[in-house]
């Protein structure tokens, strides 16, 4: 969105309270959604739960095309549509709910830096694994991505998306990386997160912030999704404080709502 449109939207957003019928759109959970999109969607859900804002999850096969920026998930609140965690956090802040108000400037800088680290390394690694690793692509991704569509559209869309993702990987320099190098990067990222978390309950001690939501979304999805090889999962399992962190957030924010999201299988 251009700057003017964004300013306009936040003005309007500030005027109305959070409605009861806010909805979050993502792809079909059982058959279509992929690892990276699921992670994003879970992160947004966790964030909204932490802010105590009610949200209903709706699954649509064409969620990616409905979204204003082409990325899922997106939320439909009142008569505005906002996609991706960053803009959603700002939108929610304009409505007066924020998780990071208690942080000082240095901590806010750190939080933003760690969110970028997760996006830069974990998300890119997930995309790489899904779209550039031949085994996973053949067995899982192609089948899932095109599943709602009839032949030959399912193949065409899957190949188109794969080509796009590969282009992006090449532009940022990940095109020549092997799977082992990618897994090593994931390990480094998890190590950094684990060291930052230490023995605290959340990243910024007592209260969860959007960073916690984002990390939870990614790690939980990695831990509970079955892929052709389990190495990604194993890398995360090496860090016990991250496992405890995911369990803690799941118990506090998801289990009492009855959302049993602990059994996501992708095949």
């Amino acid at each position: 969105m251009s700057l003017v449109a964004e300013a306009f939207v936040s003005q309007i957003a500030a005027a109305e309270p959070w409605p009861e019928n806010a909805t979050l759109y993502q792809q079909l959970k059982g058959e279509q959604i992929l690892l990276s999109d699921n992670a994003g969607s879970l992160a947004v859900q966790a964030f909204l739960q932490m802010c105590n804002l009610p949200i209903k999850v709706v699954c649509r096969a064409n969620a990616e095309y409905m979204s204003p920026s082409g990325k899922v998930p997106f939320i439909h609140v009142g008569n505005q549509v906002v996609s991706e965690l960053g803009p959603i956090v700002q939108f929610v802040k304009a409505k007066g709910h924020s998780l990071s108000d208690g942080l000082d400037e240095v901590q806010k800088a750190e939080m933003k830096a760690y969110m970028e680290l997760v996006n830069n390394m974990l998300l890119t690694a997930e995309l790489y694994l899904q779209w550039c690793d031949e085994a996973t692509v053949g067995e899982i991704t192609h089948a899932r991505y095109g599943s709602p569509y009839p032949w030959p559209l399912n193949h065409i869309l899957a190949y188109q998306k794969q080509w796009e993702v590969k282009r992006k990987m090449k532009a940022i320099g990940w095109g020549n990386k092997t799977l082992d190098q990618v897994l090593e990067d994931v390990d480094q990222c998890c190590q950094a997160l684990s060291q930052r978390l230490g023995t605290q309950p959340y990243f910024f001690n007592k209260q969860p912030t959007e960073l916690d939501a984002l990390v939870f979304g990614h790690l939980f999805t990695i831990l509970t999704t079955q892929l052709t090889n389990d190495e990604l999962c194993e890398k995360v399992k090496n860090y016990s404080n991250l496992l405890a962190f995911c369990r803690r957030i799941e118990q506090r924010y998801f289990e009492d709502r009855g959302k049993g999201s602990s059994s996501i299988r992708s095949s």
Binding site: S2, L3, S69, G70, E105, V106, K108, A109, E110, K112, A113, Y114, E116, L117, N119, N120, M121, E164, R167, K168, A171, I172, G173, Q188, C189, Q191, A192, L193, Q195, R196, G198
Partner: protein, 312 residues
């Protein structure tokens, strides 16, 4: 003198040892960790356009990207992060990711995509470093690569438009600069009093933005308002790159000194020779002065004789 570690990178200008961000990161890290690095300014390579510069060559291997080069240097025991705690190491990774995601697109845009800047500053400079005919092709390629990267990481599929993205990336970059400034505060380096990897990265990305003179300068103006970041860059330039302020690398300085030495030696030898010849002349058996009455020479002949005596 054998130089085991050689770095090939783009050259310098405007008071910087190198104008290319990634090369500068590696050079700064080498200075901080004390690695003996011999810098080769490259001028003729296709690798630059594939983003492979800077390149570190040792006897056995060739390492190419900044992250890998820094890892390699660390394994060789040139470690600038020795005194950092685990948490600070994690912070380093996070801030580097922040710089790459938020600041790099805008820096790329300022250097390579913004037409005024590109055609008046960047392209002539790189073209002057690259011999003809590559100078016609390479800068264009690098510019397209930069544009591609910006659009693919920030643009929206399926139609990628630059204008929508421009405002966004500059806003993100300014925010990132503010965050870095907040984090630095009043301390000398990011983690206490000794520089580390993060300082190398921040310096590498900020210094070209700070020093190179551009016609379109919105990001530079913003940076100049953050005085602690400017002070940070100037400090590092003054303390670690003092010899190279004229654009000559330390290795270059040494060869200049050696040449100077050779020249002085030659001049000394010459003057010694001249002295010797002079001495010989003085010590050679002198003919007795002509007695004027005995040999009646005309005054003209006398003069020519005396002239002949004096000339060598």
């Amino acid at each position: 003198m054998a130089a085991p570690l050689e770095l090939s990178c783009w050259g310098g200008g405007w008071g910087l040892p190198s104008v290319h961000s990634e090369s500068l990161v590696v050079m700064a890290y080498a200075k901080f960790s004390g690695a003996p690095l011999k810098v080769n300014v490259i001028d003729n390579t296709w690798r630059g356009s594939r983003g492979d510069v800077p390149i570190l060559t040792t006897e056995d291997n060739i390492v190419s990207q900044p992250a890998k080069i820094l890892n390699f240097l660390r394994k060789q025991k040139y470690n600038a992060d020795y005194e950092l705690s685990a948490k600070q190491g994690a912070d380093t990774l996070a801030y580097i990711a922040l710089i790459e995601e938020k600041l790099l697109p805008a820096v790329l845009h300022t250097f390579w995509v913004e037409s005024d800047n590109y055609f008046t500053v960047t392209k002539p400079w790189f073209a002057s470093q690259i011999p003809f005919p590559l100078s016609l092709i390479l800068p264009g390629r690098m510019s397209k690569g930069a544009l591609n990267r910006i659009l693919l990481t920030r643009g929206e599929p399926p139609l990628y438009h630059l204008r929508e993205v421009e405002a966004q990336i500059y806003r993100d970059a300014k925010e990132c600069l503010n965050l870095l400034s907040n984090r630095l505060g009043t301390s000398q380096f990011f983690f206490g009093d000794t520089p580390s990897t993060l300082d190398a990265y921040v310096f590498g990305f900020l210094a070209p933005l700070y020093k190179v003179h551009f016609p379109k300068v919105q990001l530079q103006e913003h940076l100049k308002q953050l005085s602690n970041l400017c002070r940070f860059c100037d400090d590092i330039l003054n303390s670690y790159f003092r010899l190279s302020l004229g654009g000559i690398s330390p290795a270059g300085q040494e060869t200049v000194d050696a040449n100077l030495q050779k020249l002085t030696q030659l001049v000394n030898k010459e003057s010694n020779l001249i002295e010797k010849m002079d001495d010989n002349l003085r010590q050679s058996p002198q003919l007795p002065p002509r007695k004027l009455p005995t040999l009646k020479l005309t005054p003209a002949e006398e003069e020519s004789n005396s002239l002949q005596r004096l000339s060598p």
